[in-house]
Amino acid sequence: MTDKIKNPSDATGISRRTAIKTLAVGAGVVATTGTIPGLLRPNQAFSAEPIRIGFQVHRTGIGAAYGRWYDRTTEAVVKRINDEGGINGRPIEIVAEDDGTDPKRGAEVVEKFANQHKCDIAFGTLFSHVVFGSAPRAGELKIPYFVVSEGHHVASGKLNRYTLQPGITDVKSQVEAMAPFISENLGKKVTMIYPDFAFGHDHRDYFSTAFENQGGTILEKIAIPPTETSFTKYFPKIPRDTEVIYHVMVGPAVLTFVKELGEFFGPSRPEIFGFIDSLEAVDMASPGLEFLDGTYFWEGNPRYAQADQTEFDKAYREAVGVDANGASISDSKDVSTYAHMFGCWETLYVVKAGMEASGYKGPEDRQKLIEAVESMSEMPHSFEHPQGAKLFNGKTHQAFGHQYISKVEDSKLVLAHTTSIEDTLYEDEVDYTKQAF
C-alpha cells in the first residue's frame, strides 16, 4: 500500500478493547484500523523534489512480524535523514507497498515502483524467496534494488548488477563465524536442527563445512518440514553423545519448538546454540522459555542494551522507539526484530552516501549510484552504522560485519562474544562489476 510512514504507535497501539470490538464489527475495520493512505509530506523547509524510495514491505503473510519493525525502522531513519537535510538537499519520500511475503506479488510491487510510482530505487525486502522473485524484474527494469534480507543470494552471484545488500550481513558469513566459538567453548559434537528450507540448507552446508574445518563433527542433521507444528517426535533423533545442539527455526511455531526442546531434555540438556531468528519478535520471558537460561544465541545486533552500550546504539534505539529490553517503548509485550531491522537504517544511509557521492539527480543516474556504492569499502561504526563497522565488497554487492553471540541470563540476552569482521569473510563467488548494466 502506498501510505505514508506514520507514527509507529498507530499501527500497533490498538487496545484489546478495540481489538475485540473490531473483531465483532468485522467489515467496518478498513476505515478504523487500516492504515490511512497518503504520502509522507516532508518538512516545509524542502523546496526540492523528494527522492522517492519504493519500500517493499511484508505487511501481510508469514513475514508480517518482521515487516512491522522494518516499517518502523525505516520511518525512523527517514525522519532522521530528512531532519539532517535529506539527500543532496532533497527529502526522502517513502512509497511503501505490501508484498504479502509472496514472490509473485513482490515482482509486481517492484514493477509498480519502477513504472507507476516512478521511484528512484526499490528497497527493504527481507524474505529471500521474495528477493529471488523480484530481483530479475528489478534488473530488467534497471532500478537499483537494495535488499535487507541476510540471504546469501546477492553474494552467491545468482542475482544481478542492480541488486545489492550493503546494510546487513549474509547467512554464509554469519554461520561460518560461529564455528570457532562453538568448537572452542561449547563442544566438538554438534547436532543441527533447521527448517527444510533453502535458508536452513544454507545453515546446514556452511556451518558443517566451517565446523569440520575447526576439527568438530556434525553428528546428525535434522531438517524439519515447514508445515510442522509439533516437534517432540523428532527429538529422539538427536544422538545421545551430542555435546551441542545448533538450532535455527523460523515461522510462528518457533516458540513451540523451543518449549518442546526444553521439555524433552528436562534437567539434563546438552549445550545449546541457536540463531535468534528462532525467537525474533518473541519475548524471552515467555512461559516455557526458562529452560533457555545458560544457552547461547547468535544475534545480528544485541536486543538488550548492554552495559557498555555505545552512543550509536543508544541514539538508534531511541529513534526507532525500542526500550532497553528490545521491546516497543509503548508496549513492553511488543518485542522488536532487533537482530535484523538495523539493516533498514544502515541501508538507507548507504543509499544516501551513494547518492551524494555520485551527485544523483534522477533515474538517469541510477548506474552512477550503483557504481558509487560498488566503490565503497569501509563503513565505520557510527550513528549511520549503529550495529558496528562494516566492510563492503563492491564485487559481490555484500556487506560484512561483526557478529554477536549472547548468553541467556535471567531471561535476558547478555553479550558474550563479538567476532571480528575477518572471521566472517569468505572467497568471492561473483564479480558483479564485470556485468553490463
Binding site: T12, I14, R16, T18, A19, I20, T22, L23, A24, G26, A27, V29, T33, G34, T60, G61, I62, A64, A65, G67, R68, D196, I222, A223, I224, P225, T227, E228, T229, S230, T232, K233, Y234, F235, P236, K237, I238, R240, P252, A253, V254, L255, T256, E263, F264, F265, G266, S268, A281, V282, S286, P287, G288, D334, V335
Partner: protein, 308 residues
C-alpha cells in the same frame, strides 16, 4: 534413543495430534454432514478461538488457570455467535449452494484473517498452561536380572499434554450424548437424513442450520483453546487445522462422527509413527500420500457407504 522408547514417544505425540484433530474435525464433520457445505473458514474459527483465549488470559489476573477456564467457556461461545451471524448474513442468503459457499467462506477467511492481523498483530503469542509439569516416563527393559524399570533419556511428556487427550475424549463423549440422547440431536439427525422431510414435519431447518454452524465453529474454537498453551496463537494458524480436519472428515466418511474420530486417530498416529522411520520431510510426504491412497482405493472413506 533406543527404538522402543522412541516409538513410544512418537505414538504419544501422535495421540496428542489425534486428540486435537478429532476435536477440530468433528465440528467440520457435523457442519459437512448436516448442511452439506464445505466451510473453508473453519480453520479461522479455530484461530479465533486461540486468539480470544490469549486475549482473555491476558485480561484475567492471578493463577493462569483462572484465565484458562474463562477462555474455555467464553471463546467457544463468542466464536459460535460469530458463526451464527455469518450464517445469517451470508450462507442462508446463498441457499447453502455448495460452490457459492466455498467462495463465500474463502471471502470470510480473508476477512477474519486480515481483521485479526490488524487487531491482534502478526506475532505468535503464548498462553500459559493452567498446569504443566514435565514427567519422565519409565520403560521396561530386559536385563540380566530380568525385567527392570528404567527411565530412558528424553522419554517424557507433560501433564498438560496428557490432559488434552483426556479433555478431548470427554468432549467427544459429551457430543455423542448430545447427538444421540437429546431432542436437539434428534432434530439434527433428522435434518441430516432429509432436510425437506424435516421441514415438512415442522422442524425449523434454517434455525437448525444456524445452530449447527455455530456448534461446529464453537467446537473448533474449543479445540483451539485446549491446544493454544502448546502451540501459541498466531493469525495464520488456521490453515493447517482446516486442511487436516477436512482430510479427517473425508477419510472418516462423510457425516460419520465415529469415522471422523477413527480417521483422526489414524492420521495423528501415522504422522507420529512414520516420523520414526524416515527423515522428517520424507515422513510428511509419505503420510500425505498415505491419505491420498486410502481415498484412491476407498473413495467413500473408511466408514462411509459406497455410492450406488
Amino acid at each position: 534413543m533406543e527404538f522402543g522408547p522412541y516409538l513410544f514417544i512418537a505414538s504419544l505425540e501422535g495421540a496428542i495430534t489425534a486428540a486435537v484433530l478429532a476435536l477440530t474435525a468433528v465440528g467440520l464433520s457435523i457442519v459437512f454432514g448436516i448442511m452439506r457445505v464445505v466451510n473453508v473458514a473453519h480453520g479461522e474459527f479455530f484461530m479465533l478461538g486461540a486468539v480470544i483465549a490469549w486475549w482473555i488470559t491476558s485480561l484475567v489476573g492471578g493463577h493462569p488457570a483462572y484465565g484458562f477456564v474463562a477462555a474455555l467457556i467464553i471463546a467457544p461461545i463468542l466464536v459460535g455467535i460469530l458463526a451464527i451471524v455469518c450464517d445469517h448474513l451470508v450462507l442462508r442468503r446463498i441457499n447453502y449452494d455448495p460452490e457459492r459457499t466455498i467462495v463465500a467462506t474463502i471471502g470470510l477467511l480473508y476477512v477474519i484473517q486480515q481483521t485479526t492481523l490488524m487487531t491482534f498483530g502478526p506475532e505468535a503469542r503464548p498462553v500459559e498452561a493452567p498446569f504443566n509439569k514435565r514427567i519422565a516416563l519409565p520403560w521396561f527393559e530386559h536385563t540380566e536380572q530380568g525385567f527392570a524399570l528404567t527411565w530412558p533419556w528424553g522419554l517424557s511428556t507433560t501433564t498438560y499434554k496428557l490432559a488434552v487427550i483426556g479433555a478431548a475424549v470427554f468432549i467427544l463423549i459429551l457430543l455423542w450424548v448430545l447427538m444421540t440422547r437429546t431432542k436437539f440431536g434428534l432434530i439434527m439427525r433428522a435434518t441430516q437424513l432429509d432436510s425437506e422431510m424435516a421441514q415438512a414435519h415442522g422442524i425449523p431447518v434454517n434455525r437448525v442450520y444456524a445452530m449447527v454452524f455455530g456448534l461446529g465453529a464453537g467446537l473448533a474454537a474449543l479445540g483451539a483453546v485446549l491446544i493454544v498453551p502448546i502451540q501459541q496463537a498466531h493469525y495464520l494458524m488456521g490453515g493447517d487445522p482446516l486442511l487436516l480436519s477436512f482430510i479427517v472428515v473425508i477419510i472418516g466418511g462423510l457425516g460419520s462422527v465415529v469415522g471422523t474420530i477413527v480417521a483422526a486417530l489414524f492420521i495423528g498416529m501415522s504422522d507420529g509413527i512414520i516420523s520414526v522411520f524416515f527423515s522428517p520431510t520424507l515422513a510428511k510426504i509419505i503420510a500425505t500420500l498415505a491419505v491420498a491412497f486410502v481415498l484412491v482405493f476407498r473413495p467413500q472413506g473408511l466408514f462411509g457407504k459406497p455410492e450406488r
